[in-house]
């Protein structure tokens, strides 16, 4: 019979330490072999069940969402083929839906999300979407001069952010870099719009947005670097 000298509770004969406080069992009057021989109250074998695939239930939900997204596309194709035959406008709906599906459903289709594949798929489908809309409603000059450079600058910013994000970062730093990425996207988009002649004050608007987002990013950088501000913010904004 052993007792824990710390907690005062009786321990099982087979116990090697007190389950409550971790104090090792040492009983000079009892043979150590007796402790080994005693049947432990619990088996020592830990059974780890087979990891179940999270895919089972998810598959059904994804199938429902995909079907729901598919219905308007089919309706539009049928309408385009039968009633409103002027031009293939249903292609726009299909490319838009495809982009939405790739952005919001495709990540969950993958068993293990792969960010670079998702990034590539989203960028390609965004370009494809732009191509379809420009082909349907405008001339190719706009696509070359304006839309493609904007999409390219956006995806480059996202890629840079993803590369930076690979290491574990503080939440405040993450927010700061999101705003920094926004500011760069705004600036580049403004310049592109100005150069393409679509927006006369493109650069000015781009600079205003760039400065605003940069200021917010700087505020977060400052919060990250200053312990006093972090403490104040955590006190004021905790939820």
């Amino acid at each position: 019979m052993s007792y824990c000298v710390n907690c005062g509770v009786e321990l099982d004969v087979s116990a090697r330490k007190c389950a409550l406080c971790g104090t090792a069992v040492y009983n000079p009057n009892e043979n150590g072999d007796k402790q080994k021989e005693a049947v432990r109250p619990f088996s020592e074998y830990i059974y780890l069940p087979e990891e179940l695939s999270p895919y089972g239930r998810k598959k059904l939900i994804l199938a429902i969402i995909t079907t729901v997204m598919l219905i308007p596309n089919i309706v539009c194709i049928l309408l385009n083929l039968t009633l409103f035959k002027s031009h293939p406008w249903s292609l726009g709906v299909i490319s838009g839906s495809l982009f939405l599906w790739s952005a919001f459903v495709f990540p969950f289709v993958m068993k293990k999300p792969r960010p670079y594949i998702l990034w590539a798929a989203d960028s390609i489908l965004a370009c494809l979407n732009a191509l379809v809309f420009v082909w349907l409603y405008s001339d190719m000059k706009l696509l070359i001069e304006c839309l493609l450079p904007i999409i390219a600058s956006c995806s480059l910013c996202v890629l840079a952010y993803m590369l930076w994000y690979r290491r574990k970062r503080h939440i405040i730093l993450k927010i700061a870099f999101v705003f920094l990425a926004f500011s760069l996207v705004c600036l580049s988009s403004g310049i592109i719009l100005k150069l393409s002649g679509l927006l006369a004050f493109g650069t000015e608007i781009g600079i205003i947005c760039f400065v605003s987002f940069l200021a917010i990013a700087c505020f977060f950088f400052y919060c990250y670097s200053s312990k006093t501000i972090r403490r104040w913010a955590s006190k004021r904004f905790f939820f």
Binding site: E10, L11, A15, C18, L20, C21, R40, F42, L48, P54
Partner: protein, 423 residues
């Protein structure tokens, strides 16, 4: 008995939520067991299990998906008996274990059964385990009689044991306001997935009862107050925003409503202490807990809570929703509410009366609720003869709550023996 109640039957009102709560890593499973005074022979146990299942057909089932609801169907497979494991109450998968919703284990002198809560409540599980142990002993050559907790396996199953008693007794016209709020959780370092921190304190029922009597409360009220007090002081030490401490205490409704069902017939009462109201002494907490439990444990109040639960099930819109949508809804609700709103669970099965001959052959009973997702303490208690067992199941490595609880009992003069799966 009607044929269809045996071939297939609906899940009872309480059981309906458990399949929705199931996840890849967690299910609502609890463990009952018996420690005998001799080594267990697995071949005899297997035979005893088969005979027990014939008497209690509500266990001899597998769960199936209907279009609108889950249902139980008679399981043609043979139940498995396995050597015990160190991590009881791990998740249930409906396709494993030959489709059975309970797992039977043996270890040394112990017979343990991990039961999925959709099958039955603690009372039903005690009867199943006691009948299994008695049948095992009978096959070993002992003569064991029957009583309330040990059924006669040669009898035919009774329809009243299979009924959904909620739908029979829920008849209140009053809307019940649960008034749940976010509760405090004593957190710590999580144990690895599929494992848990299980600990039992074995003590004398008479000693604990005498202490409870000294305070003028019941044993459940004393234990509840002790757990609340420990959590209350732990939260004060953490020096954060003070949240309510709430304890879920399941109540066996068979005492208030005469039913012999072996399926779920239990409801959880909630006892709360709000630390923002001011400082509490242990005596004040004990008084508050005792009054709250006695006030809530009123058949009329329970009936209104029961009716409220049944209303959701009977809602025509809810009934028409396909099963995956229902399960998804239950799962999300469980994530948002459920354990978020309770700090502690204390399930006290009470005194289990065995046939006289069994007391000499049974060392003690074992009872654990499964480790929760958030709760630092999910506790279980039951007593047989003069032995009271108090189990702690936790998903955290830390044992400060358990230590505080048992050392308090030691200081009160109770002799406590500890058993754990992690010593």
């Amino acid at each position: 008995m009607r044929k269809n109640t045996f071939e297939w039957f609906r899940l009872d009102n309480a059981a309906k939520i458990f399949p929705g709560q199931n996840s890849r890593t967690w299910s609502n499973v609890f463990r009952f067991g018996v420690e005998l005074k001799e080594e267990i022979d697995p071949a005899v146990l297997e035979k005893a299990l088969e005979r027990t299942l014939k008497r209690i057909p509500s266990f001899n089932v597998r769960i199936r998906n209907g279009f609108f609801w889950h249902y139980f169907e008679k399981n043609p497979e043979k139940p498995l008996v396995c050597p015990d494991i160190n991590n009881p109450c791990y998740r249930i998968n409906f396709k494993e274990n030959n489709g059975f919703l309970f797992r039977t284990y043996y270890h040394g002198r112990r017979i343990c059964v991990d039961v999925y809560h959709a099958l039955c409540d603690g009372y039903g599980a005690v009867i199943f385990v006691s009948t299994l142990a008695a049948e095992y002993l009978r096959l070993k050559g002992y003569s064991i009689s029957h009583n309330e907790f040990v059924l006669d396996v040669n009898e035919q199953p009774k329809e009243e044991e299979m009924e959904d008693a909620y739908s029979r007794y829920a008849s209140s016209r009053v809307k019940f306001d649960r008034g749940d709020k976010w509760a405090y959780h004593a957190r710590g370092t999580r144990v690895p997935r599929h494992t848990g921190n299980y600990m039992t304190g074995i003590m004398s029922f008479k000693q604990v009862h005498a202490i409870a009597k000294g305070y003028g409360v019941t044993v459940t009220e004393l234990f509840t107050a002790m757990l609340v007090d420990i959590h209350y002081r732990k939260q004060l030490r953490e020096n954060k925003k003070q949240k309510e401490i709430s304890v879920q205490v399941p109540v066996n409704l068979r005492k208030a409503f005469p039913s012999k069902t072996l399926r779920n017939f239990v409801l959880c009462l909630v006892v709360r202490i709000n630390p923002n109201l001011g400082e509490y002494t242990f005596e004040e907490i004990l008084r508050s807990v005792s009054l709250q439990l006695r006030l809530a444990n009123d058949p009329k109040m329970i009936n209104s809570l029961m009716t409220e639960n049944l209303k959701i099930e009977r809602n025509p819109v809810a009934r028409l929703l396909p099963l995956p949508v229902k399960d998804l809804g239950v799962g999300i609700t469980f994530l948002i509410t459920a354990e978020q709103k309770t700090s502690i669970l204390l399930s006290n099965v009470g005194l289990v009366k065995l046939p006289e001959e069994m007391y000499e052959l049974v060392e003690k009973y074992i009872f654990y609720t499964g480790a929760g997702k958030l709760n630092g303490a999910r506790c279980s208690a039951m007593s047989t003869g003069d032995t009271l067992i108090f189990g702690f199941s936790s998903c955290y490595e830390e044992t400060d709550i358990q230590r505080e609880f048992f050392t308090r009992l030691v200081k009160m003069g109770v002799h406590v023996k500890i058993e754990s799966n992690r010593d």
